[in-house]
């Protein structure tokens, strides 16, 4: 029998009652709805995690969802809706964002550097995926039939 099974499926399972915030939302891929979702998310998670963790979570989700609103949902395919699911687990805040828009270009997920900083011609964009990569762990992407699925965890510090 597998070790993991023996450990977890005895006659007396461990106490399972645990209330941790969780967030689920289907939203239209547009910046106003992204803002609303993030505001609600902030209210939901504020009692459980530090302001620092919350700030990093909010930033990374803003980058991901704004990318969908700006790039994926504008390619003329899909419903223009996306799904967001955040669950607080032992290993981190587990986030999944899916949408049925155009495919994510592979190079978004390749290790990214900052856009070159030319003091005479500063870059005004191209920071999004660098931030997403830097603030997340276990970032992974999967193209499911007609959906983009992006998942990652954000490490957290719990409020004591």
């Amino acid at each position: 029998m597998a070790h993991t099974e023996r450990q977890n499926a005895g006659p007396d399972p461990r106490p399972a009652t645990r209330v941790r915030p969780m967030f689920h939302r289907v939203l239209h891929a547009d910046p106003q709805e992204v803002r609303r979702a993030l505001t609600d998310l902030r209210a939901r998670f504020a009692p459980a995690i530090t302001a620092d963790t919350l700030g990093r979570l909010e930033l990374v989700l803003a980058e991901v969802m704004n990318n969908v609103a700006e790039h994926s949902a504008t390619q003329g395919v899909g419903s223009g809706a996306m799904h967001l699911c955040i669950v607080m687990q032992d290993g981190g805040l587990s986030c999944a964002i899916t949408d049925d828009g155009g495919k994510l270009p592979a190079d978004c997920l390749k290790p990214r550097n900052l856009p070159a900083i030319d003091p005479l011609d500063l870059p005004e964009g191209g920071f999004g995926w660098f931030l997403i990569q830097g603030l997340t762990q276990s970032l992974c992407y999967y193209r499911e039939d007609h959906r983009n699925c992006l998942a990652f965890t954000v490490p957290y510090q719990q409020l004591s």
Binding site: R35, D52, E58
Partner: protein
Amino acid sequence: MPKLIINETEAQMVVIVDEARIDAAIATRFKDRLREIVLRGRKPVQLDMRRVDFMDSSGLGAMIAVRKALPEALPLVLDGLTPNVERVFRLTRMDGVFDIRPVATQQE
């Protein structure tokens, strides 16, 4: 319209950003409005960011666009950055490009 409160003196212009979020929902209008203000003033600008709780990379892009619109010699000081805003400047290395003054309580 993004709320910007302007206090102009002989020597400089203080612009209070009276928005809780500089994000994709507002970045373009914020950039256009702020650029108009600073270009009209033609004096050193101090941007009071105390009320901004959150900024994403499109907000950062707007700030960069405004900085680029100003003559290089003209100072643009970003004052009172809250931790979430300061983080974006720091992670993108733009803290070296701007003259930023985080709020005193910014220790994380």
